[in-house]
Each structure stands twice: as structure tokens, then as C-alpha cells.
């Protein structure tokens, strides 16, 4: 297994046949971030009181839980499914429709999952690297996964009616802006302070994703002593 990991190492970040297009998309994403998302997130966190920001993020996060339960089940991970479902029930009731997060206080943390992860569990490889407009770094498998999650596997979107769907969208934007602000140091360092932000962003995304999925077959390590 070590040998496999070693021999894969040189290519593990090089599966990028779309690099030319990806780099253009990266510039577009940076343009959108630097002109809209980043400045708006600064304004949002300055104007909105923290409890309001947290409530919007909680509300949005809570409605995404049923979709996570679906993926837990598709992965036959019933323990995680039970955890996410309990979390959804606790926060929807005691947390007043998910505005508060009492589940966290009793140790019922979110078990993150998505259809890209499900595809990984089913044996699909990540495929070529893709930078998606607006959504950012991804790969072929997880890009498909993201689309399937949004279009098909989200029970909330089937059940909710207006005006709740609008509230949900607004809360989703709030959650995005809050996350942009919380991680602003790290995001700015990668996007605006590194010499090749495209390559750095790709490298970090692929490693973080493999770490999150415990994708050991694709784990890369550099042995600087044998260079």
C-alpha cells in the first residue's frame, strides 16, 4: 500500500486536464469574491449582531440536515443517520425551527455528509479537478455530487412552501457570508497572498477533501529525503 501511495504521489494533484478553463473560472471566482462576497461579508458581520448571524446560519444548517440523513442512509451509515435525524428533531422543536442549536449543547454534533461522499463510499474515484463558477474548487465526482444533492436529494426542498423557501435562501446567503468572515484570514491568505492562488487552492481543496473522506488510497506524502 505504501508503494502505491508513493507511486501515485507525483500525479495525485496533476489530474487537471481542464487547467486552462479552470484558471479562467478561478479568476472569475476571485473577481466575484473580491468585489462582492468579501466586502459584503465584512459589512454583514459589522451590521448584523452575532446572535442574528448565528440564528440565520443555524436555520439554514438545520434545513440541510434531512439531505445529510438521506446520504447517511445511502452509505448505510445508520449511526450517523440517527445522529443527524435526532439533531434535526431536537433543533426543529426545542431549537424553535432550528433558529437555536441546543443539540450541540448535548453533544449531538452534525455528521457532515454529501452525495460526493456517498459516491466515494460506493467506489467512485474523484476524477479530474474542476473549479466550479461560484462554488469554487471541486472534482468531477464531487461536482456531480453537489448537483445531485441540490436537485434530487434534499427533502426540505420538496416539503417547504413559500414563504419558508425564501427565508431559507436568505438564511443560506447569511450563512455563506458568516463563514466567509469567520475563515477570512485563511481564505484571504490562499486567494490573495499566495504566489499562485489557483494551484494553492487546488492543492488545499484536494488534500482537505481526501482527509475528510478518509480517502487513504489517494493520500499523498512527500518524502523529501528521496528526491
Amino acid at each position: 500500500m505504501l508503494v502505491t501511495a508513493c507511486s501515485q504521489a507525483p500525479n495525485a494533484f496533476n489530474n487537471d486536464p481542464l487547467e486552462l478553463v479552470n484558471r479562467k473560472t478561478h479568476e472569475l471566482n476571485k473577481f466575484i469574491d473580491s468585489n462582492f462576497i468579501s466586502p459584503i461579508s465584512v459589512g454583514y458581520s459589522a451590521l448584523a449582531p452575532d446572535p442574528l448571524e448565528n440564528s440565520l446560519s443555524n436555520f439554514s444548517g438545520n434545513l440541510s440536515l434531512p439531505g445529510k440523513v438521506v446520504n447517511n442512509v445511502l452509505q448505510l451509515d445508520l449511526k450517523a443517520a440517527g445522529k443527524n435525524l435526532s439533531r434535526f428533531i431536537v433543533n426543529s422543536s426545542f431549537g424553535l425551527l432550528g433558529i437555536f442549536d441546543p443539540a450541540n449543547r448535548i453533544g449531538l454534533y452534525e455528521n457532515s455528509s454529501d452525495f460526493g461522499q456517498t459516491l466515494h463510499r460506493w467506489g467512485f474515484n474523484e476524477g479530474a479537478y474542476i473549479e466550479l463558477p461560484l462554488f469554487g474548487a471541486s472534482n468531477f465526482r464531487d461536482g456531480v455530487g453537489r448537483f445531485v444533492d441540490m436537485a434530487l436529494l434534499d427533502p426540505s426542498s420538496y416539503i417547504l412552501k413559500e414563504p419558508v423557501t425564501t427565508y431559507r435562501s436568505v438564511a443560506g446567503v447569511g450563512a455563506l457570508l458568516q463563514a466567509r468572515q469567520i475563515y477570512s484570514d485563511q481564505i484571504d491568505a490562499v486567494l490573495y497572498e499566495s504566489a499562485d492562488s489557483y494551484a494553492q487552492n487546488k492543492l488545499i481543496y484536494l488534500q482537505r477533501r481526501r482527509f475528510q473522506l478518509k480517502d487513504e488510497a489517494n493520500e499523498v506524502y512527500i518524502d523529501p529525503y528521496s528526491e
Binding site: L2, F13, A195, D196, F211, I222, Y225, E227
Partner: protein, 198 residues
């Protein structure tokens, strides 16, 4: 008789091999853990005592010089270009890189002042040991930091830090590689340029 002799020779050479390889590896593992223990101790002390950013950077540079295999790390970030480089170019670059590295990464520790770091399991990865550690952040979101330790330069030193799956060495290879391109492959110029970064 012949068989017996061969068997004995095999046994003896096996025993010698064990003497040479076995205990050396065992000592390495213990020493790898000791190295990280003592490194983590110094970092904890640093984040809980140092006040200003300049003080933090200089303290961290001292720690890095003591625990990291900076010759090997800095050389690796240059990629294939390191092979054609002269000794003095590599030495100058190493010094500049070490300062750049300390400036760039010492800031990260400010976020963890007051947090505890605990050591977890250590894995034998064949050519090196991976010592696992975790920064304790309340409950849900502990941060995994693994140290890759080797003694192939003579004494145990870490040559990579893996933060939540992200290799610092891999990041710096991409970063320094791009900066080296911007300096038209001139290591001397690169060494000057990175003095202003980080």
C-alpha cells in the same frame, strides 16, 4: 551437517540484522515521540507566554531551527532546481526560507492561545514516523496536527506538518515553486524576495 551450518548462519545473520535494524527502529519511534513531545511543550509555552508578534516570530524561528530539518525542507521546496544549485545558494536560501517560514506560520498560533495540545498515536510509515497530535477546541472540532519525523539527516527532526490533512511541505513547494518562476529560476533573487514575504 551442511543444513545445520546454513541454518545457524541464517540464524546468526538474522540475529545481527535484528540487532542492527530492530532496536534502531525502536529507538527512532521513541525518539520521534520525544521530539514531538518536547516540540509541543515549547510551542505551548510560546503561545501562552509570548506577547508581541516580533517576539513570537523570533521564538518560533528558534523552535523551528531546533526541531525541523530545515536543510531538507528548504531544499525540497526548490524542487528539481535544487539539483543544479551551489552549496552557498542553498545555504542563503535556507536562512531566508527559515525566517519566512517563521513569520508566516507563527501567526497561526495566536489563534490557539490557551488551547491545549495533546499527543495521540504514532504510526510507523516505513521511512518515517507520523506522530499524531490534536489541538483541543471545545468538543466538536478538535484540530488534527500530525508531525512527520525522520532521522535520516542524522538526528530526529520533523520534515512536514499535516494540519487537518493539509501538508505544509506540499503547500510550500507550490508556493516557492511559483515564486521561483517569478524570479526566473534565480535562487539568489528568490532568497532576497522572500525576505519581504510571509
Amino acid at each position: 551437517m551442511n543444513d545445520y551450518f546454513n541454518f545457524r548462519r541464517l540464524f546468526v545473520s538474522g540475529a545481527i540484522a535484528t540487532l542492527v535494524a530492530g532496536p534502531a527502529l525502536a529507538i527512532s519511534k521513541g525518539r520521534a515521540i520525544k521530539l514531538v513531545e518536547s516540540l509541543v511543550g515549547e510551542i505551548s509555552l510560546m503561545i501562552n507566554s509570548v506577547k508581541t508578534e516580533t517576539e513570537l516570530t523570533s521564538t518560533f524561528e528558534r523552535i523551528v531551527a531546533k526541531y525541523a530539518d530545515m536543510n531538507v525542507i528548504s531544499r525540497s521546496t526548490l524542487g528539481p532546481r535544487a539539483r543544479g544549485a551551489s552549496e552557498s545558494e542553498l545555504r542563503t536560501f535556507k536562512k531566508a526560507f527559515q525566517r519566512y517560514f517563521a513569520r508566516k506560520y507563527s501567526k497561526q498560533f495566536l489563534n490557539f492561545s490557551g488551547n491545549q495540545i495533546i499527543l495521540k498515536d504514532t504510526q510507523d510509515r516505513g521511512k518515517f514516523f507520523e506522530v499524531g497530535a490534536s489541538i483541543i477546541v471545545d468538543g466538536s472540532s478538535n484540530i488534527d496536527v500530525n508531525f512527520r519525523v525522520s532521522d535520516r539527516s542524522g538526528e530526529p527532526r520533523f520534515f512536514d506538518i499535516i494540519l487537518e490533512g493539509i501538508s505544509l511541505l506540499a503547500s510550500e513547494r507550490v508556493e516557492i515553486g511559483a515564486l521561483l518562476d517569478n524570479s526566473q529560476g534565480d535562487i539568489g533573487l528568490l532568497s532576497k524576495n522572500i525576505e519581504e514575504l510571509g
